[in-house]
Structure formats: structure tokens, C-alpha cells
């Protein structure tokens, strides 16, 4: 009976999307339904998180078709951790949208697309079936294509074209990988796949093609997460999209790629052992993870450096934030890479990545909303038109400042603990003789210094200095500023009351590596 709560967030978001489409003639009612839907979604996620905290894992078999034959929805600590982040960011961005997007745009399609985006994200976090994951990705992407091109100006259509073509190719590659995995392992259910991969001889599975197909799939997830070398769509798309959509893209949909990497590689593919002679030169370890660890490490390192250096030289606020997203996602992948390579720190590494993802999700969406507030008031976010915002609108500036501080990693904000856990993962890996731990420490330190550099520059150019005419005469919407302040307060709350967050992250990391429990619950009565 209690398992029905698993599908509740999905249904709430879907019904909201449909209702907002039907209520197009009644803009006030449409907006009210949209906000009520975002609130209802948050309530459902809270109920689900409470239920999962009680029972550790909830499984819902759609239409009563038992796994592995039907589609299964699985909510465990990892899924709910990501869903809580989604609920907070999507509620804030929905309120922001109501005051930010033009009346006509809202009436036309905005609310429907926005909630369909939430549907896609939620489905991706909950599904236990790899083809179903593809479908939810498409739901999420289709709405994001339209949202990126929402303003339809010259630069928006150009950015959307790039974003759409790249992701269409990504979808084709994902389909290829999934088809191949089905053919080699004989199943699409994640739990069933993990069970079969753990015992390949019994099911006649050849691990070599599985490794190649897993690599193909990895490229798709890296594209979604915007990790170097798949980052090139990020700056244009984030700048073109309306501010609340950028907040959702950077805060939530990027994390879908990270979630998929954790779920599939640490829960499912980790079960398989590497064929002899296929481990990367200089690395030992028999799990698939030992193969992907060094690759993730190189990609994370490149992201941190490229994102940081790129952000320092931008001439507009949105550009700094977009490049910063590339760098910060590197900080999320770095502990994952260490966790994959060094089994001793696996849970710690995943927990570090999750805490960092939560911190980045809250902070970056808040910064994009702050940037949107400035754009709405001043008309531009290019540094040449800005200056002196701190004196003109101190409350908004404090919000931006807190967001910058948390990404830099100043206590007691949430970002401090994210950075601390990343450093701790690297240090612990070094203590047990893990390869590359010193390099990881150096990278994290260098990345942190770059973060200080680009945020200092953004602050100096935009918020200090002499007030420009545009900044002085602009009026700053109190509603939008209030949303930014609410998210900034969330950053402080997460930082000050960090203990429950850490416990949730540890539970999520535990759920990610505890394959036995996952398989037993999805496939009751089958030996894992």
C-alpha cells in the first residue's frame, strides 16, 4: 500500500503540466495551478523521503507487472536525496518564473513545459529500468529544447540548434548502447542486470562487449552532465535560456547525468569483473569501476581547469556562472573518480559527490536567479553596463555574495562541507596508497583558487565600483529578490544544520553501493 507514494511526485507534476495546458485562457488560474503543483510536488517528495527514511527502499511495480518483466520504479536513499534537491530548486524557480516570464509567454506554454521538465527529471531519478531511463531522458530533453529557445531571438535559436542537435545524437548513441546491453545481458531491468553481471558465466554473458557498451553509455551521461570533453553546449544554452530555466538546467538536470553515473556504474556495472588484460595500464583492480575511475578522473580534472579558466575571462554574469558550472561539475565527478579507483573510500567519495552536488544545485540555481533579477531590472548582465549593485540593492547582493562564498567553500555555508568532504576523500585515498590522490588534492586546491578568482572578478565588476546609470535607475522586483533570499537562507540552513544532510548523503552512498539490498527488493525471491 505504502509503495504507491513512489509514483506520487511523478503524477503530481504530470497532472500539473496537463492542467496548465487546459487553463491557457485563464492566466491567473493557470499560474495558481502551476505554483500549487510545484508545492504539491515538494510535499509528495517530502512524504516519499520520510517513507524511504523509514523503510530504506520502496519498490513500485507499474500495473502490477513484476520485475524484470514490467517497468519498476525504485525509491531509495539515493533517489530521494536527488528528488529533495529537485523539489527545493523547482519550487523556487516556479515562484521566480511567475514573476519573471512575460504574461504572454506564461500563458502560451511556459508552465506546461516547465512541469514536463520536472516530470522527466523525476522519472529519471525513480526508474529501475534502463530503457525507461531513456524515455524519461527524452521527456526531460524535449521540454528543455523548447525552454532553451523560449525567447526565439537570433542567439537563442543558435544556442538551441546546437543544444538540440547534440542531444539528438546523444539519444541515438544511448539507444545503441541500451540495445547492445539488452542483447548481451538479456535484460533491461537494472537490478536484474546487476544480478546477471555478478555471475556472467551462469547467464552466458561475455563481459568484453558489456564494457564497451557501458563506455558508450558513459559518454551520453557525460554529455548530459556537461563534463569536459562534452561541455561545449553548456555556456550558450545556459545564457540563452530564461533565468529560472538556467537555474533548473544547472541545478537539477545536470545532476541527472551524475545520478545516472552513480546508479548505473556504482550499483549495476560495478557487479561485473573486468576481463583480464583490459585494465588500463598502470592501474589494478578487477571491477568495471577500476576501468572507469581513471577516465572520470581525467574528465573531472579537465572540467575543473577549463571551467575555472573560462569563467575568469567572461564579460557577463551569465557567462561566468555557465563556465563555473563546468568547473563545479568537475568537483562533483572528482570524488566519484577517486571512489571508483580506491574501493576503501567508495562510500565516502559518493557521499562527497552528493553533498557537493546538493550544494552546487542550490547555490548555482540561486546565482542564476540573482542574475535573472538583475537582467529583469537593468536589462543586461554584461559587466560594462553593471557596477555598484551592492549599494543599489544590498539584499540581492548579499544573496549573490552568499552564493559565491558557498561555491568558494567558506564555513559555515553548505559549500564548506562539500569541499571538505572532497579533500577528505582525496586525503583518505592517499592514506591507503590510492593512485593520483596527491594530484586530486592539488587539482581541488587549484580549482578552489580559480573559483575565488572568478567570483572576486564578478563581484568587483558587477557589485562594487561606481553605479552605472542603468543600475541606478532600475527597479528591482521584490518578489524575485525574495526568492533569491529564500534560496540563500537555504544555503545557510544546510551549512549550519549540516548533520542531517550528511546522514542523508551517507545513507544515499550506502544505497548506491549496496547492490544486494537493491536486487533483493526489486526482485523478491531471486537470489542476488
Amino acid at each position: 500500500m505504502a509503495a504507491q507514494i513512489v509514483i506520487a511526485p511523478l503524477l503530481v507534476a504530470l497532472v500539473t503540466a496537463i492542467l496548465t495546458l487546459l487553463l491557457r485562457r485563464f492566466p491567473r488560474a493557470q499560474r495558481a495551478v502551476s505554483l500549487a503543483g510545484a508545492l504539491g510536488y515538494a510535499v509528495c517528495v517530502a512524504l516519499l523521503a520520510a517513507a524511504v527514511a523509514n523503510q530504506s527502499i520502496l519498490v513500485y511495480q507499474l500495473s502490477g507487472w513484476r520485475a524484470p518483466f514490467g517497468i519498476t520504479l525504485v525509491a531509495d536513499a539515493l533517489s530521494t536525496f536527488m528528488l529533495v534537491l529537485t523539489a527545493v530548486v523547482s519550487l523556487a524557480a516556479a515562484v521566480f518564473s511567475a514573476g519573471y516570464i512575460s504574461e504572454y509567454g506564461q500563458q502560451l506554454s511556459y508552465h506546461t513545459l516547465y512541469h514536463l521538465l520536472v516530470v522527466g527529471v523525476t522519472g529519471s531519478f525513480l526508474t529501475g529500468d534502463i530503457f525507461n531511463l531513456f524515455v524519461w531522458f527524452e521527456v526531460m530533453l524535449l521540454s528543455s529544447y523548447v525552454l532553451v529557445v523560449f525567447y526565439s531571438g537570433p542567439e537563442h535559436t543558435r544556442a538551441a540548434l546546437q543544444y538540440t542537435i547534440l542531444n539528438l545524437l546523444g539519444s541515438a548513441v544511448m539507444l545503441l548502447a541500451i540495445g547492445g546491453l539488452y542483447s548481451t545481458t538479456g535484460t533491461l531491468n537494472m537490478a536484474d542486470m546487476a544480478r546477471r553481471l555478478a555471475n556472467p558465466a551462469a547467464f552466458g554473458i561475455d563481459p568484453v562487449p558489456v564494457l564497451g557498451l557501458a563506455g558508450l553509455l558513459f559518454a551520453v551521461f557525460a554529455l548530459k552532465a556537461g563534463i569536459v570533453p562534452f561541455q561545449f553546449w553548456v555556456p550558450a544554452a545556459y545564457r540563452a535560456a530564461p533565468a529560472p530555466v538556467s537555474a533548473m538546467l544547472a541545478g537539477v538536470t545536470k545532476k541527472v547525468g551524475i545520478y545516472a553515473i552513480i546508479r548505473l556504474y556504482f550499483t549495476v556495472f560495478a557487479a561485473a569483473s573486468l576481463p583480464t588484460g583490459l585494465s588500463l595500464p598502470g592501474f589494478s583492480g578487477s571491477s568495471f569501476l577500476a576501468f572507469f575511475g581513471p577516465i572520470m578522473f581525467a574528465m573531472a580534472a579537465a572540467s575543473i581547469v577549463l571551467g575555472g579558466v573560462g569563467a575568469v575571462s567572461r564579460t557577463d554574469l551569465d557567462g561566468v556562472l555557465a563556465y563555473s558550472s563546468i568547473g563545479q561539475i568537475g568537483f562533483v565527478v572528482l570524488p566519484l573518480a577517486i571512489a571508483a579507483t580506491v574501493p576503501d573510500v567508495r562510500e565516502l567519495g559518493i557521499a562527497a559527490a552528493l553533498v557537493y552536488a546538493l550544494n552546487h544545485g542550490l547555490a548555482k540555481s540561486m546565482l542564476f536567479l540573482a542574475s535573472g533579477t538583475v537582467r529583469e531590472a537593468v536589462g543586461s548582465v554584461r559587466f560594462e553596463y553593471l557596477g555598484g549593485l551592492a549599494r543599489r540593492t544590498p539584499v540581492l547582493s548579499v544573496g549573490f555574495f552568499l552564493g559565491a562564498l558557498t561555491l568558494i567553500g567558506i564555513p559555515p555555508l553548505s559549500g564548506f562541507f562539500g569541499k571538505l568532504l572532497v579533500f577528505q576523500t582525496a586525503a583518505d585515498a592517499g592514506a591507503v596508497g590510492g593512485q593520483g590522490a596527491t594530484l586530486a588534492l592539488a587539482l581541488a586546491l587549484g580549482g578552489a583558487i580559480l573559483t575565488v578568482a572568478y567570483f572576486s572578478r564578478a563581484w568587483n565588476e558587477g557589485f562594487w565600483g561606481t553605479q552605472s546609470e542603468a543600475v541606478r535607475t532600475a527597479t528591482y522586483s521584490p518578489t524575485l529578490v525574495a526568492v533569491v533570499v529564500a534560496l540563500a537562507a537555504a544555503l545557510v540552513v544546510v551549512g549550519v544544520g549540516f548533520d542531517p544532510v550528511l546522514r542523508a548523503a551517507n545513507a544515499a552512498a550506502n544505497a548506491a553501493v549496496d547492490r544486494g539490498t537493491y536486487v533483493e527488493n526489486v526482485l523478491p525471491g531471486v537470489s542476488p
Binding site: 524515455v135 523548447v146 537570433p154 535559436t157 538540440t164 541515438a172 539507444l175
Partner: protein, 117 residues
């Protein structure tokens, strides 16, 4: 024999698709993406096995599970085709919109005309 023909066809489809994606003309790029997506669908169908009989109860030879083609991949392909239909339609509309905004669908010229947001 069928395997070799289909493998050749798949290779050809991916080649044509890749060639078109690398063109300067956006419409050709969209066709290229469509062909690659269709090639992925054909590939998916071949994953169900090629030698079996129709997977319909009551048809074909008496029940022998090994002799029936896997119907699941065909269901998957139907889903993928529907999604591909929607995305292709959107990509074409987007192409038209790009033409309206920039007055060109040549990617090189597009790179030169665009300014900052």
C-alpha cells in the same frame, strides 16, 4: 546471410548519417541526425534475433521458445520511433526559425552573424 546484409546496411546508414551531420547546411544536418536515429532503430531490431518466427500466439510452428523472435525490441523501437518523430518535427521547425532570425541556414555564416546574448 541476412546478418551480413543488415550489418552492411547499418554501416552504410551510419556513414551517410555522419556525412550529412558534418555538412554546413542545417537541413542536411537534421537529415543526418534523423538517419542516425533510424540506423539506431534498425540496429535495435536486429538485437532481437533474425532467424525466429513471428512472435504471435497461435501463429508459426508449435511452441518452442527458442524459435520465436524477441518481440520486446520491436516494442522498444516503436517507442523510439515516436520520440524520433517528435524531435525531428521540432528540429525542422527550429531550422525554419533559425532561418527567420538569421536569414541563412549555412552554419559558417551563422557562426559569423551571431552576437552575445
Amino acid at each position: 546471410m541476412t546478418q551480413f546484409v543488415l550489418a552492411g546496411v547499418l554501416g552504410l546508414l551510419f556513414t551517410i548519417g555522419t556525412f550529412l551531420v558534418l555538412r554546413r547546411d542545417i537541413v542536411r544536418v537534421v537529415w543526418g541526425v534523423t538517419i542516425i536515429a533510424q540506423a539506431a532503430n534498425v540496429y535495435l531490431v536486429t538485437m532481437g534475433g533474425l532467424s525466429g518466427t513471428v512472435p504471435i500466439v497461435g501463429h508459426g510452428p508449435p511452441a518452442n521458445p527458442g524459435s520465436v523472435t524477441d518481440p520486446l525490441v520491436q516494442a522498444l523501437v516503436l517507442t523510439a520511433i515516436v520520440i524520433g518523430f517528435g524531435t525531428t518535427a521540432f528540429a525542422l521547425v527550429l531550422t525554419y526559425r533559425v532561418y527567420e532570425e538569421h536569414g541563412t541556414i549555412d552554419l559558417d555564416e551563422l557562426g559569423e552573424t551571431g552576437g552575445e546574448v
